[in-house]
Amino acid sequence: MTEGLNRRRKGYLRVRLSGGGLERFLNLCSANGIEPWNLCACGRGSAECCMELSQFRRIRPFVRKAGVKVRIVGRYGLPFFIYRNRRREGAVCGLLLCGFLLYALSLFVWNITFEGNYHYSRDTLLHYLETLDIRYGMRKGRIRCEDLEESIRSAFPEITWVSASVTGTRLVVRIKENEVLSAVPAKDDSPCELAASGAGTITRMVVRQGRACVAVGDAVGEGQLLVSSELAVMNDAGEIVRTKYVHADADVYARMEFIHKSEMPKLCRQEVPTGRVRRSFAVSAGAFRARMRLPVRGELPAALRDGVWSFMEWVSEKTGLSRFLQLPARERSDTLWNETSEICQLRLFGDFYLPVFLEKTTAEEYTFYERPYTREEISAAAQQEEAKYIENLCEKGVHIIENNVKIQEYGVSLLIECTVTGEEEITRERAVRIPDTPNEELTEQE
């Protein structure tokens, strides 16, 4: 393919060779570095072949020597194209303008891509790049990849490796994130006690450090002390010598009741497609957007009556005005459309992206009506709500023991009440204030 393009760039000829020493001419050509291609015999003692323009200029002595006649059959390639169109100034200007425009566009970044990011979303990284003044449409020369890599590494500690490169009009940021914990959390040894994070009945408890203040089977309220940090140090006579404050550590599980209430309307909105489908195509560049809305299939005659241009829009986002081509379209205002759009960025080749976006939209017309939910639908909705709530609890580490769902009419809506009984760890660390007592002083001295 590259060879073909190269030949077209240099220009080549299709020549017909006839006469006596055809084979001699071919041998002379190959011996002198002239390499014709696509050589095919046509008729008696004559053949056609392709030859590069520069090589064609060198064959005169061999033609005389071999006694062949050469006739040009076709001229192909850029030099001939330019020669043929030498009088078309407008086309030449257009081509030059196009080339200049492409060159100007190639100086900016029109696409930013992140690869290998799982923890940090594209929006987060884009937002960060904006703080570094790196954004869509900026000059490529202003991006310093080394500085960008260093900034990202220092701003996001979980990112261990960054590679930024500008290829074409695209900025590619490749990232590797840390898959293990970057730092081991430091052990907290400061004195603290454990309190209940909610109300419930204790089902099991394991105390590793501290003094248990409750027992299995006790009902506790929110904020009640479960494990104290105070440990009394006694002498042989059983007297308290001093009090030691420790970092209480225990697993205390309690049976708790979780209640979740949600509302849903009694009437549901039912959308019914009418079958009318409308397609539209749009091209947007910067703040401008030109959209062509095709008429609904089967309604073309009526659309033509309104005028084809009624389907064209030229919208400027900056001014918010529709200009030039828009005429009042006779679209029924009471219709509703579900629109699905596909947007893709235009690119010439490889990484040469252009600031032009193509948009294809498919709109389906629908009408709607309201109807009351059926019993089955209500039941399904309640169960779905309950399952969602239970899933949330499970994520928090609650062991589900029992669950119930209740549906009640509540004015114009339905009230879904989910009651879940589960077992959850209820310890919550609470700092203790160490009293300034002689006992404590003793502790400090020791």
Binding site: E23, G33, N38, C42
Partner: protein, 109 residues
């Protein structure tokens, strides 16, 4: 003139004898070292792909080019490719790709 002709004939026979000697020497070398003969300079290498293309390396010159036959001269033999609608896709001083409907590839001394 006859002397000239005689001297040319003598030179030609001398050249042919020299070529024969060279060839025998090459054969001895390849058999002695157990190396393939295609590594010797000048031996034609012919690669046939399906019925539609023949690739020839180490040819000397084109002797005949027409639609039904392409005959080439190599160092040690003549190679003749016969077929229908034959054409030379490309050729250089050493190699050539022949395309078309190939019927036979034959060699003669």
């Amino acid at each position: 003139m006859p002397e000239d002709f005689e001297s040319r004939r003598t030179a030609a026979s001398h050249n042919s004898l020299e070529r024969g000697k060279e060839r025998r020497r090459d054969l001895h070398i390849t058999s002695f070292f157990s190396i393939p003969q295609e590594v010797l300079p000048g031996e034609p290498v012919i690669t046939i792909t399906g019925r539609n293309s023949v690739y020839i390396e180490n040819y000397r010159r084109i002797e005949c080019f027409c639609e039904d036959e392409i005959r080439l001269r190599a160092r040690t033999c003549r190679v003749s490719v016969t077929g229908k609608r034959l054409k030379i896709e490309y050729y250089t001083q050493d190699e050539m790709l022949i395309a078309g409907q190939i019927i036979s590839v034959s060699m003669e001394v």
